[in-house]
């Protein structure tokens, strides 16, 4: 419904309106910037929480202890059997000697000799099994436990289930939060834009009675909405990237164990999406607010 002939008219109208209602334009841009800033912060927090949870989950592994009576070939067969289970990522053999060394280093104090204290190595051979998908850990552990030659399976029983419960809810809640924020932003922005449109209701009414089509009336407002939305989101993106950038650089030295997301490509994608969101919110807010005035 938009043709080139009217294009310059639409842009001129949008520009005139923006500069005429300067105060309302500033209010709209500010509202937009705050909304996108909060939204962006929520997205960054969610992504970081997700990365952190992924890290926790991928640390999960199954330790399958072997019966001490097994022969060498039986031990190898079990490895093959475990690898055949679907969803298994890696199977690593840890000999009882290696397990003892590992345990010994955990106690760190080199002068304390476990074997001397206990008299003999009490640890069995084991396999450390990682799942392709951490969600499969419990299921895999149960299958491995049923295999012959397995003495015991350890996967952090109880803790794992709770971890998944927690991460599931964190993900649901953060997505719900972002959806709510977006809806709130649409409402807030629609309200601000309604003020700007309200100031021009007489003109809209006049256009309708003269015989302007709805689209002819809408376009300048849409362009205005896109401009306000983009300006608002641009401001918030600048603030956000600056704030997050300093956060990453200060935390990486002080709290190196918190794995912040810092890949440029991912961040740029997030910022671009926020920019698009701003523009879309501008149009959406305009659309919602405008329709009521077009109903003449």
């Amino acid at each position: 419904m938009m043709n080139i002939k009217n294009l310059t008219y639409f842009f001129r109208e949008a520009y005139t309106s923006l500069s005429r209602n300067r105060l309302l334009s500033i209010a709209t841009v500010t509202t937009m910037a705050i909304c996108i800033l909060i939204l962006g912060a929520a997205v960054l927090m969610t992504i970081n929480a997700d990365k952190f949870m992924n890290r926790l989950e991928s640390d999960l592994e199954i330790v399958a202890f072997l019966d001490s009576s097994l022969s060498k070939s039986q031990v190898t067969d079990i490895k093959g059997d475990i690898e055949k289970l679907s969803g298994v990522k890696s199977v690593i053999f840890v000999s009882r000697e290696q397990a003892l060394v590992n345990l010994q280093t955990k106690f760190a104090d080199k002068n304390y000799d476990l074997v001397k204290t206990i008299g003999k190595n009490p640890l069995p051979d084991s396999y450390e099994v990682k799942a392709q998908n951490p969600q499969d850990v419990v299921n895999l552990a149960q299958q491995i436990n049923k295999m012959p030659g397995i003495y015991k399976v350890n996967y952090g029983q109880g803790v794992v289930e709770r971890l998944f419960q927690v991460t599931k809810w964190v993900r649901i809640i953060s997505i719900g939060f972002i959806v709510l924020l977006t809806m709130g932003a649409v409402f807030l922005i629609a309200t601000t834009i309604r003020l700007a449109i309200f100031a021009r209701r007489k003109e809209i009414y006049l256009m309708k009675l003269i015989g302007a089509t709805d689209w002819f009336i809408r376009w300048p407002f849409f362009i205005e909405g896109i401009m306000l939305g983009s300006m608002g989101s641009l401001i918030s993106i600048l603030l956000l990237s600056w704030g997050y950038g300093s956060l990453v650089s200060s935390l990486q030295t002080a709290l190196f164990f918190i794995p912040l997301v810092y890949q440029q490509s991912l961040l740029i994608n997030i910022y671009l999406s926020l920019f698009a969101t701003g523009a879309i919110l501008g149009v959406l807010g305009t659309y919602i607010s405008l329709n009521r005035f077009l109903d003449v």
Binding site: K5, Y9, Y205, L206, K208, L209, I210, G211, A212, T213
Partner: protein, 226 residues
Amino acid sequence: MLVQFYNVSKVYPNGVKALNDISLKVDRGEFIFLMGSSGAGKSTLVKMLFREEVPTRGQIFVASRSIVRMKRSEVPQLRRNMGIVFQDFKLLENKTIAENIAFAMKVVGSKSKDIRPRVTEVIQMVGLKGKENSFPGQLSGGEQQRVGIARAIVNRPLLLIADEPSGNLDMDTARDIMDLLYDINRKGTTVVMATHAWELVKNARKRVVTLEAGRILSDIYSPESL
């Protein structure tokens, strides 16, 4: 027939019965007064012509097209055949006189090269030559209504609708505005004018439809006695 009303009634959502069983025909080229005191239903009737309101019952045809069955997307085309003059002028304060008139051509998508000469022409027609670049606030009430009329005729409508066009003007200025409307009618435009001012109507030698409480009381040619 340009306008046909068949048994039109209008009940507003709040329950007010504004029009009651109105049947009325307006021929091309006619000048017709809708007379009636405040609240008689004049504005309601007039708004149905350009489909700001739709009847609760009955049928309305404008240029043989049913207003009632008309789709929303067809309404702009209907309105482009009409010019509307308002009691409060409805001029855009931040546009000049010429811009206010050009506005009506722009919003229906006229080409810029057609707009300028036509605007000059209608400004001349309503007697406002020299005021092109003034703003509405700098003009008298009568002059502002001339701008309103110029804007209403700039797209060469079939039907000119005026709802109390002189309601905000003194009697002398009102008569000047009437002369302008008669002039436009003489050049072929059908005019429907709502008014409660009997002084303007009584010696006009035009058709007068009188409304009272939403009904047609009489349909005569003044200056016959009522």
